[in-house]
Amino acid sequence: MILLPIIEIKDLSYTYPGLSKPSLSNITLSIERGSFVTLTGPSGCGKTTLCRCINGLVPHFYGGEATGEVKVSNLSVQDQPISELAQHVGFVFQNPENQLFSLSVEREIAFGLENLALPREEMKERLEWALDVIGIEDLRQRSPYELSGGQQQRVAIASVIAMKPKILIFDEPTSSLDPLAATKLFKTISRLNKTLGLTIILVEHRLDLLSTLTNQVIVMDDGEVKMNGKPIEVFGSPLAKLIGIGIPKIVRLYQEIANTGSVTKRPPLSVEDFTSYLRSRL
């Protein structure tokens, strides 16, 4: 049996209602089950719109004109109601405050499950599982509003994974977090990818902290996919620099010093790789 990609997009173009210029043009790509995909590109390039096409908010909620095909777990997104898609694709927003509304963390996580009309026992089981996986058992009785930004982001993730989606989309989840909280969050996401096998799509500008965790980088510009490959290939390419993505500092430093001698085109991505590369040149 051949395993189909979990997400398949063919010739997708999309224009929001009231706009004349398409936000997405002729996008074709596939994402394998269990990938950790980083989606990046300049502001306004269509990253968030593409994510909305995967969870069905486009076109079901936003309207507008979509052509082409988006398939998630071999289901056509156009034909599925958002509620059905929510069990396949979980979405964590930039600002967790926008998606939290309950008086306690437990209630917050239970809410989505109640909407699935699950038996009480299974709801309890999933609630405990989500609290445990994300490591927030100690917060269960707290109000989401009195938590720090990093903690709120964890609650939002727990309430999404309780729905047991196969795909998790994060739209710039660390943009309002301090660097320590951002690092922790990326590690949690990586763990969900490695231990539960969830497919991750992470929209992000801050690539320094991600280059060793992700295994596929998609670069968009002006509504099109311009690059799609392994981090080492994408970050090392002159095109990435031209489009203006946040190439990790380690790669930039490597490129600056690489000019002084003959080196390979595969840049180091971690501190360890960089120092061992440098030592090899001495």
Binding site: S43, S148, S175, G244, P248, E272, T275, R281
Partner: protein, 273 residues
């Protein structure tokens, strides 16, 4: 000059956001205030333009206590650009937005026109002059907010999280703009936790945690100190992480910026050959 003397501030909700904070910021200084969410960074800078008045202690701007001045008077000297641009944008076009403050300060029509053109130009917004700020992207809205404050040329410019939501190209333009402002003699204060951005511009760094200042000194010193960095919920800049591993080669550990790193490594490679 900004002088903060033993300032404490508690919000009506009971959160004690500043605890006996003292700091001096001289004219023409370039300062980054860094620290975890809720450390008191924004509360501190809101005292600079009188949006907040201390419960205890004093804040003086050029020797005048902020309690004796209105926010309008203080705003002429201290321009504060909010973290969330939407909190300060309300006009129908970008042009109107930028001229609003100028008109309120009573500048002549001719000056208003000249200043608006200048601000549109330097922040690369001329093509949006007739556009509603609400139609623009997050990054563009932040530039409009900045333009509307730069237009009245405050001597002290305070930017709260200016790099948030900005892509790489916008960050680089912002970096150039900030350096230019500072070279022209403006005092520039950044509130940020974008450690890699600060590492490239090397300002004085004030680290805050839990309503207190935990360290105050050059970026090169504070951002390479593991203990300080951890206290402020930051991480070491990537360049510093590399140089920490290379100390046995005779390289210094206190390196934060790409340019200096490149020079040092290139010299090392040349020396070996």
């Amino acid at each position: 000059m900004i002088n903060v003397e033993n300032v404490s501030y508690t919000y009506p909700s009971g959160i004690n956001a500043l605890k006996e904070v003292s700091v001096e910021i001289e004219d023409g200084a370039f300062v980054a205030i860094m620290g975890e969410n809720g450390a008191g960074k924004t509360t501190l800078v809101k005292h600079f333009n009188g949006l907040l008045k201390p419960n205890e202690g004093n804040v003086t701007i050029d020797g005048i206590n902020t309690r004796e001045l209105s926010i309008a008077e203080l705003s002429k000297k201290v321009g504060l650009v909010f973290q969330n641009a939407d909190h300060q944008l309300f006009c129908e076009t970008v042009e109107e937005e930028i001229s609003f403050g100028l008109k309120n300060f009573g500048f002549s029509d001719k000056t208003v026109k000249k200043r608006v053109e200048w601000a549109l130009e330097i922040l690369d917004l001329a093509q949006y002059r007739k556009t509603s700020p609400l139609m623009l992207s997050g990054g563009e809205r932040k530039r409009v907010a900045l333009a509307s404050i730069m237009a009245w040329k405050p001597k002290i410019v305070v930017l709260d999280e200016p790099t948030l939501g900005q892509d790489q190209n916008q960050k680089e333009r912002l970096l150039q703009f900030i350096k230019q402002l500072n070279t022209q003699g403006n005092t520039v204060v950044l509130v940020t936790h974008d450690i890699e951005f600060v590492a490239e511009c090397n300002p004085r760094v004030i680290l805050m945690a839990k309503g207190e200042i935990v360290a105050d000194g050059p970026a090169k010193k504070n951002l390479t100190n593991r203990r300080f960095v951890k206290k402020a919920s930051l991480i070491l800049p990537q360049i510093t992480q590399i140089f920490n591993e290379l100390a046995d080669l005779g390289l210094p550990k206190d390196v934060i910026g790409t340019y200096e790193a490149k020079q040092l490594i290139n010299n090392l490679i040349k020396g070996e050959q």
